[in-house]
Amino acid sequence: MTKLQSVLTEVCELDGTPVAANAPFGEIKGWDSMRAVTFQVELERLFGVDLSDTMIPANWTLDELAGVLQQKGVTSERLS
């Protein structure tokens, strides 16, 4: 399980099965606008990035999110 999958599993209180990298967040069991914010705050803390002016959209996937984080300087090693 990647770091992103692990955080998402924790925030959405999933049973441990990794979320598919291409699954839109809105289709994940337990995802809602509240948990989206918690997920975002956890990512900021974990990777030291500033996402404070945005909200993670429900149609994004883990792949797309990883791309955004990499643009903000998070290395692929840290995401794995």
Binding site: D32, S33, M34, V37, T38, Q40, L51, M55
Partner: protein, 323 residues
Amino acid sequence: MFAKILSTGCYLPARVVANEDLTQFPRPSIPLIAAKTGVEARRHAEESETTSDLALHAAKACVEKSGIDAAEIDGIILSTSTPDRLQPPTATRVQHLLGATRAFALDINAVCSGGIYGLHLADSLIRSGRHQKILVIGAEIYSRFLNPRDFSTYPYFGDGAGALLLGAADEPGVLYTDAGADGAGSELIRVPAGGTRLPWASMQNPDDRFFKMSGRAVYEFAVTKGSEITLAALEKCSLKPAEIRRFISHQANINIVNELAARIGVPEDAFFANLQKYGNTASASVFIALDELIASGGIARGDLAALVAFGGGLAWGTSIIRY
């Protein structure tokens, strides 16, 4: 023998935390707090304040209004899910500092329903003829048990305390109380660590010290059970919803309060709400609301009020009172 409410009191810590002060959350998410729950601000206790401190302030306000001496109180039932310590009971410190020297003192924990549970027990003890005056307190400091990074819990709770003094009477003031539970839902609201199931020493995930809640399932439970028990209470008392001066629900979420009004068949403003100012103060919320309502003249002597609470356990409680 019956029980009636002699007086009420409440205490809210001085520190106001507005939604805009929650800077740990992304700026675009801040309007969601009020939109999803109605909460615009909450009070947070100072680091030096404890649950018993809040309870004591509320108790003093309540006893002072009654005009009785604290030494006349036979018992103190303190509802809290955020106690000073695992033991001794938080109520014992309140008993000592209040000067209620004759009173027994114990804590109860039915999470957000605890205040009504306390009322249910106190009413039963007075009706039994065994006790004359019982002080029921709901006091909580949730800010110490919330994960500051958890948007699904942190913004919605606040700290506070409410108290109610019940006394023996020839005429019924407390017309009806009831309490219930369904432990099948015990995982929906919880603080995972700190008890015998997961002692601190065995805790692997530091976040297990924080309060967790499955919001969607709890919402469904609250509106379904809350309306069911309120209607059942009215039926037991042969009352129609329109005869109730004000309904006071546990102050969890304005959408829950409004949905309860719809299901019971009364206008939204028949339900009192102050969660905008204080957030969800768990077992203190109904007593704080009742005290505010009485202080503002929203309920006068002789008026009927319906109280309803629901929450972790899962547990619920209801009462019909003639103030």
